[in-house]
Protein backbone atom coordinates (compact mmCIF):
# COMPACT_ATOMS: atom_id res chain seq x y z
CA UNK A 1 0.00 0.00 0.00
CA UNK A 2 1.42 3.29 -1.07
CA UNK A 3 0.97 6.24 1.15
CA UNK A 4 0.24 9.51 -0.55
CA UNK A 5 3.20 11.03 1.22
CA UNK A 6 5.54 8.53 -0.44
CA UNK A 7 4.90 9.77 -3.94
CA UNK A 8 7.73 11.65 -5.51
CA UNK A 9 6.65 15.27 -5.53
CA UNK A 10 6.68 16.62 -9.10
CA UNK A 11 7.40 20.26 -9.82
CA UNK A 12 4.47 22.41 -8.71
CA UNK A 13 2.62 23.69 -11.74
CA UNK A 14 2.40 27.43 -11.18
CA UNK A 15 -0.89 29.14 -11.98
CA UNK A 16 -1.44 30.98 -15.20
CA UNK A 17 -1.37 34.72 -14.41
CA UNK A 18 -4.55 35.71 -16.24
CA UNK A 19 -4.45 39.31 -15.01
CA UNK A 20 -1.31 40.05 -17.00
CA UNK A 21 -2.69 38.62 -20.23
CA UNK A 22 -6.16 40.14 -19.84
CA UNK A 23 -4.60 43.53 -19.12
CA UNK A 24 -2.33 43.25 -22.15
CA UNK A 25 -5.17 42.22 -24.48
CA UNK A 26 -7.30 45.09 -23.16
CA UNK A 27 -4.47 47.59 -23.81
CA UNK A 28 -3.94 46.09 -27.27
CA UNK A 29 -7.65 46.51 -28.07
CA UNK A 30 -7.79 50.25 -27.27
CA UNK A 31 -6.39 51.60 -30.55
CA UNK A 32 -8.50 49.45 -32.93
CA UNK A 33 -11.56 50.03 -30.71
CA UNK A 34 -11.06 53.80 -30.96
CA UNK A 35 -10.45 54.01 -34.70
CA UNK A 36 -13.06 51.43 -35.71
CA UNK A 37 -15.80 52.24 -33.21
CA UNK A 38 -15.44 55.15 -30.76
CA UNK A 39 -14.42 57.57 -33.55
CA UNK A 40 -17.96 57.30 -34.95
CA UNK A 41 -19.56 59.02 -31.98
CA UNK A 42 -18.62 62.59 -30.99
CA UNK A 43 -19.14 61.75 -27.30
CA UNK A 44 -16.37 59.11 -27.31
CA UNK A 45 -14.38 60.74 -30.13
CA UNK A 46 -13.68 64.32 -29.04
CA UNK A 47 -12.52 63.41 -25.54
CA UNK A 48 -11.54 59.73 -25.72
CA UNK A 49 -12.59 58.96 -22.13
CA UNK A 50 -13.76 55.42 -22.98
CA UNK A 51 -10.34 54.63 -24.44
CA UNK A 52 -8.50 56.01 -21.39
CA UNK A 53 -10.85 54.01 -19.16
CA UNK A 54 -9.78 50.89 -21.08
CA UNK A 55 -6.11 51.82 -20.57
CA UNK A 56 -6.78 52.39 -16.85
CA UNK A 57 -8.39 48.96 -16.53
CA UNK A 58 -5.50 47.39 -18.44
CA UNK A 59 -2.98 49.17 -16.20
CA UNK A 60 -4.74 47.99 -13.06
CA UNK A 61 -4.82 44.36 -14.26
CA UNK A 62 -1.18 44.45 -15.34
CA UNK A 63 -0.08 46.00 -12.06
CA UNK A 64 -2.03 43.42 -10.04
CA UNK A 65 -0.67 40.58 -12.21
CA UNK A 66 2.95 41.73 -12.12
CA UNK A 67 2.93 42.32 -8.37
CA UNK A 68 1.53 38.78 -7.86
CA UNK A 69 4.19 37.33 -10.12
CA UNK A 70 6.93 38.91 -8.03
CA UNK A 71 5.40 38.70 -4.53
CA UNK A 72 4.18 35.13 -4.92
CA UNK A 73 6.33 33.67 -7.65
CA UNK A 74 5.96 30.12 -6.29
CA UNK A 75 2.27 30.22 -7.17
CA UNK A 76 1.97 32.63 -10.11
CA UNK A 77 3.76 32.77 -13.42
CA UNK A 78 4.63 35.95 -15.27
CA UNK A 79 7.88 37.35 -13.88
CA UNK A 80 9.25 37.72 -17.40
CA UNK A 81 6.08 38.06 -19.50
CA UNK A 82 4.52 40.53 -17.01
CA UNK A 83 7.02 43.39 -17.25
CA UNK A 84 7.43 42.79 -20.99
CA UNK A 85 3.68 42.97 -21.71
CA UNK A 86 3.33 45.93 -19.33
CA UNK A 87 6.01 47.74 -21.35
CA UNK A 88 4.20 46.98 -24.65
CA UNK A 89 0.93 48.22 -23.14
CA UNK A 90 2.59 51.44 -22.00
CA UNK A 91 3.96 51.92 -25.52
CA UNK A 92 0.41 51.59 -26.91
CA UNK A 93 -0.83 54.20 -24.40
CA UNK A 94 1.97 56.62 -25.34
CA UNK A 95 1.23 56.15 -29.05
CA UNK A 96 -2.49 56.77 -28.44
CA UNK A 97 -1.72 59.94 -26.47
CA UNK A 98 0.59 61.15 -29.25
CA UNK A 99 -2.02 60.44 -31.96
CA UNK A 100 -4.96 62.09 -30.20
CA UNK A 101 -3.26 64.93 -28.30
CA UNK A 102 -0.61 65.98 -30.81
CA UNK A 103 -0.68 64.42 -34.30
CA UNK A 104 -4.35 65.07 -35.07
CA UNK A 105 -3.93 68.77 -34.16
CA UNK A 106 -1.25 69.53 -36.73
CA UNK A 107 -3.55 71.46 -39.08
CA UNK A 108 -2.72 74.73 -40.87
CA UNK A 109 -4.36 77.72 -39.18
CA UNK A 110 -6.44 78.94 -42.16
CA UNK A 111 -6.14 82.54 -40.94
CA UNK A 112 -7.35 83.97 -44.26
CA UNK A 113 -10.33 81.65 -44.69
CA UNK A 114 -13.56 83.60 -45.40
CA UNK A 115 -15.10 84.87 -42.18
CA UNK A 116 -18.73 85.14 -41.15
CA UNK A 117 -20.19 88.20 -42.92
CA UNK A 118 -17.71 88.04 -45.80
CA UNK A 119 -18.56 87.00 -49.32
CA UNK A 120 -17.63 83.38 -50.05
CA UNK A 121 -15.16 83.35 -53.00
CA UNK A 122 -16.82 82.24 -56.24
CA UNK A 123 -15.58 79.01 -57.82
CA UNK A 124 -16.15 76.75 -60.81
CA UNK A 125 -15.24 73.07 -60.45
CA UNK A 126 -15.93 69.72 -62.10
CA UNK A 127 -18.55 67.54 -60.43
CA UNK A 128 -18.98 63.77 -60.34
CA UNK A 129 -20.16 62.87 -63.84
CA UNK A 130 -17.99 65.53 -65.51
CA UNK A 131 -20.25 68.59 -65.43
CA UNK A 132 -18.64 71.95 -64.71
CA UNK A 133 -20.44 73.64 -61.82
CA UNK A 134 -20.22 77.24 -60.60
CA UNK A 135 -21.06 78.33 -57.04
CA UNK A 136 -23.61 80.80 -58.42
CA UNK A 137 -25.43 78.02 -60.29
CA UNK A 138 -25.50 75.86 -57.14
CA UNK A 139 -27.33 78.77 -55.47
CA UNK A 140 -29.72 79.48 -58.33
CA UNK A 141 -30.64 75.98 -59.54
CA UNK A 142 -33.57 74.28 -57.85
CA UNK A 143 -32.90 71.54 -55.30
CA UNK A 144 -33.81 68.02 -56.40
CA UNK A 145 -37.11 66.91 -54.89
CA UNK A 146 -37.93 70.40 -53.60
CA UNK A 147 -40.61 71.35 -56.17
CA UNK A 148 -38.46 73.77 -58.09
CA UNK A 149 -37.37 75.76 -55.06
CA UNK A 150 -33.91 77.28 -54.95
CA UNK A 151 -31.80 76.30 -51.94
CA UNK A 152 -31.71 78.82 -49.10
CA UNK A 153 -27.95 78.44 -49.08
CA UNK A 154 -24.98 76.12 -49.50
CA UNK A 155 -23.12 74.02 -47.01
CA UNK A 156 -19.57 73.89 -48.35
CA UNK A 157 -17.75 70.91 -46.87
CA UNK A 158 -14.02 70.87 -47.55
CA UNK A 159 -12.59 67.45 -46.75
CA UNK A 160 -9.28 65.69 -46.97
CA UNK A 161 -10.26 63.17 -49.61
CA UNK A 162 -11.12 59.55 -49.95
CA UNK A 163 -8.14 57.26 -50.04
Amino acid sequence: MINRQDRVPGPVKRQWNWRIWTGFLLALAVIPAYFLFFLRFPVTRDVPWASWLMFAGAGWLLLAGVSRAFANSAVYRGKIAGPFLAFLSLTAAIFFAYATLYASRQLPAAGDAPRVGEKAPEFTLVAVGGNTVAMSSLLSEPMPGMEGQKPRGLLLVFYRGYW
Binding site: R105, A113, F123, L156
Partner: protein, 93 residues
Amino acid sequence: MRPVAISVDTPDQSAALCRKAGYTFTFLSDPKAEVIRRYDLLHKRGGPDGKDIARPAEFLVDAAGVVRWRNLTEDLRKRTTPEDVLQAAQLLH
Protein backbone atom coordinates in the same frame (compact mmCIF):
# COMPACT_ATOMS: atom_id res chain seq x y z
CA MET B 1 -29.62 74.22 -47.97
CA ARG B 2 -27.58 72.40 -50.56
CA PRO B 3 -24.63 70.33 -49.30
CA VAL B 4 -21.53 70.60 -51.50
CA ALA B 5 -18.42 68.51 -50.81
CA ILE B 6 -15.07 69.72 -52.13
CA SER B 7 -11.73 67.89 -52.14
CA VAL B 8 -8.67 67.25 -54.31
CA ASP B 9 -10.11 63.88 -55.33
CA THR B 10 -10.85 63.32 -59.01
CA PRO B 11 -14.52 63.00 -60.04
CA ASP B 12 -13.93 59.24 -60.42
CA GLN B 13 -12.62 58.92 -56.87
CA SER B 14 -15.58 60.91 -55.56
CA ALA B 15 -17.94 58.75 -57.61
CA ALA B 16 -16.45 55.66 -55.91
CA LEU B 17 -16.97 57.27 -52.51
CA CYS B 18 -20.60 58.16 -53.35
CA ARG B 19 -21.30 54.63 -54.54
CA LYS B 20 -19.80 53.13 -51.40
CA ALA B 21 -21.38 55.53 -48.91
CA GLY B 22 -24.65 56.14 -50.77
CA TYR B 23 -24.16 59.93 -51.00
CA THR B 24 -26.34 61.68 -53.55
CA PHE B 25 -25.35 65.32 -53.00
CA THR B 26 -22.90 67.38 -55.05
CA PHE B 27 -19.22 66.40 -54.99
CA LEU B 28 -16.76 68.78 -56.64
CA SER B 29 -13.21 68.03 -57.65
CA ASP B 30 -10.38 70.53 -57.06
CA PRO B 31 -7.35 68.42 -58.08
CA LYS B 32 -4.93 71.38 -58.17
CA ALA B 33 -6.35 72.77 -54.91
CA GLU B 34 -7.02 76.16 -56.56
CA VAL B 35 -10.31 76.79 -54.76
CA ILE B 36 -8.91 75.21 -51.60
CA ARG B 37 -6.06 77.77 -51.73
CA ARG B 38 -8.52 80.62 -52.39
CA TYR B 39 -10.28 79.63 -49.17
CA ASP B 40 -6.90 79.38 -47.37
CA LEU B 41 -7.55 75.75 -46.52
CA LEU B 42 -4.45 74.17 -48.07
CA HIS B 43 -2.81 71.52 -45.96
CA LYS B 44 0.60 71.16 -47.60
CA ARG B 45 1.75 67.54 -47.89
CA GLY B 46 -1.16 66.56 -45.64
CA GLY B 47 -2.27 63.66 -47.78
CA PRO B 48 -0.85 60.29 -48.66
CA ASP B 49 2.56 60.44 -50.39
CA GLY B 50 2.95 64.09 -49.39
CA LYS B 51 0.10 65.29 -51.59
CA ASP B 52 -1.35 68.78 -50.94
CA ILE B 53 -4.93 68.44 -49.71
CA ALA B 54 -7.64 70.46 -47.99
CA ARG B 55 -7.80 70.75 -44.22
CA PRO B 56 -11.33 69.95 -42.98
CA ALA B 57 -13.64 73.01 -42.91
CA GLU B 58 -17.34 73.75 -43.30
CA PHE B 59 -19.01 76.98 -44.43
CA LEU B 60 -22.68 77.89 -44.54
CA VAL B 61 -23.26 80.36 -47.39
CA ASP B 62 -26.57 82.21 -47.81
CA ALA B 63 -28.43 82.91 -51.08
CA ALA B 64 -26.45 86.16 -51.52
CA GLY B 65 -23.16 84.26 -51.29
CA VAL B 66 -22.29 85.55 -47.81
CA VAL B 67 -20.75 83.27 -45.16
CA ARG B 68 -23.24 82.96 -42.28
CA TRP B 69 -21.47 80.27 -40.24
CA ARG B 70 -18.21 78.39 -40.44
CA ASN B 71 -16.36 75.67 -38.61
CA LEU B 72 -12.58 75.44 -38.79
CA THR B 73 -11.67 72.52 -36.63
CA GLU B 74 -8.31 72.53 -34.85
CA ASP B 75 -8.30 68.75 -34.55
CA LEU B 76 -8.67 66.27 -37.39
CA ARG B 77 -10.71 63.98 -35.17
CA LYS B 78 -13.28 66.65 -34.35
CA ARG B 79 -15.71 67.54 -37.12
CA THR B 80 -18.95 69.39 -36.97
CA THR B 81 -22.08 67.42 -36.08
CA PRO B 82 -25.36 67.24 -38.04
CA GLU B 83 -27.01 68.95 -35.05
CA ASP B 84 -24.62 71.94 -35.23
CA VAL B 85 -25.17 72.29 -38.98
CA LEU B 86 -28.97 72.10 -38.68
CA GLN B 87 -28.89 74.72 -35.93
CA ALA B 88 -26.71 76.96 -38.11
CA ALA B 89 -29.12 76.41 -41.02
CA GLN B 90 -31.75 78.29 -39.00
CA LEU B 91 -29.73 81.42 -39.88
CA LEU B 92 -30.88 81.02 -43.49
CA HIS B 93 -34.58 81.41 -42.65
